[in-house]
Symmetry: C2
Amino acid sequence: MTGPLGIVAGGGPLPRRLVEHCLSTGRGAFVVAIEGHTEAATVEGVDHLWTRLGQTEAAIQALKQAGAKELVMVGPVKRPSMTELRPDRSAFKFLAKVGFRSLGDDGLLGAVVKALEEEGFTIRGVDELLGDLLVGEGCFGVVEPDELAQHDIQRGIAVVHAMGAADVGQATVVQDGIVLGVEAVEGTDALLERCGPLRRDGPGGVLVKLSKPGQERRADLPTIGVETVERAAAAGLRGIAIEAGGTLVVDAPAVSAAADRAGLFIIGISIGSHAATP
Amino acid sequence: MTGPLGIVAGGGPLPRRLVEHCLSTGRGAFVVAIEGHTEAATVEGVDHLWTRLGQTEAAIQALKQAGAKELVMVGPVKRPSMTELRPDRSAFKFLAKVGFRSLGDDGLLGAVVKALEEEGFTIRGVDELLGDLLVGEGCFGVVEPDELAQHDIQRGIAVVHAMGAADVGQATVVQDGIVLGVEAVEGTDALLERCGPLRRDGPGGVLVKLSKPGQERRADLPTIGVETVERAAAAGLRGIAIEAGGTLVVDAPAVSAAADRAGLFIIGISIGSHAATP
């Protein structure tokens, strides 16, 4: 028996889903909740510790005392500056060792995963436990991308992959070949919001959201949900392209219904078969 | 004698500077002003034609009639969608030939330059005519970047170059290793504005604005001016890094004074000596 699942919970609804899964299967869970990131509802009715980023010693000790041997990191965590982090001794040693300032987001998460493994934990991806989250190939709802949208998807793939080479961002918005926006730390919601006013006349753009090449999949898979669809529609987009096997969808039936309501397409694409040419 | 200079004028103050240069040297100029892009002051007291993007035939004819043999494209032009463009027959043929939708911004500008050359014009860079615009190496004002800022500059170079590989953007804001924002079509002003609220505690970030590798230098060099410095200061940044020989500075003495007033550094860096490792 592996004991309760240790859940390092970032923001959004996904951590709560995982908690409920663990409670309903009787496995149980211990949640490390992060001040300013984790939603309060995530820890309702489950053992947990509120902590802040940078306080790693207490969190690791609490997970061990709870008997958690397997860990899942789930939900977005806004990357802090060194000043905000106020690292404890153990966190500071870790950050100095991995070279905090020279690492990209994914490089940093990869280092965190490795450090937790060295503490004796087994790190698993949230998609291993909630198997219905990973997107498959094909369209979600009734709308399908036309030829122009397919072009924009191709251009978006090339842009996200180019960004990925510098370990930045997972998403872009492309309209008629024009890159309206590229996501950095502001997140997809903010990207969509600013692309509304940047929209050109003519057929609307496409949100392309993919995992980075070589991304640490156990720590940070790109995620969309109903809100993403609604924001995309509000920004005048025509559709969303996500990565089959590389993007998580929270509540796929609701996402599919929201896409149909808004007249948007949502398509899971296999990146292997869509070789990107910048 | 090469006749009056043909000036295809985008936005900002730089086209007017070039007009004044041509008038004061007695060479004269003919300006193609673009509706919605060119400032009204640009064409005061100089022969010109107002046109819209997509109306290339009339513009080329007017330039030829004015006796312009040399052309300069100067000032930013927001890239339109095909629908907004409403191309005339000649523009449509051109766009179909170059593959409008699959080209990045710079690819498109390069194609425009080539097409104008095929019309018999010689295309020159604005920096060839206004020689004091190109940035040299070193600091503009009294403030210099510290070690942390140097780190952020390095990360910024890697990010802009990665973006450049997909022919997107020229600028990024990096704070303490965190990429706060990446520029697409919204422009540097909008990038700086949104990076203000994204700012983390601790020493402020750095704006890095460079030409893209392989950029068509005669059509679109990145530019900063006093307003860029003021917006960077308002966003809580500590400095600006630009490319020696690759970025234009409008009114360098005023930019230098603005930097000193705001306590910001502005440094011209030689990219060759700052090899970027993503």
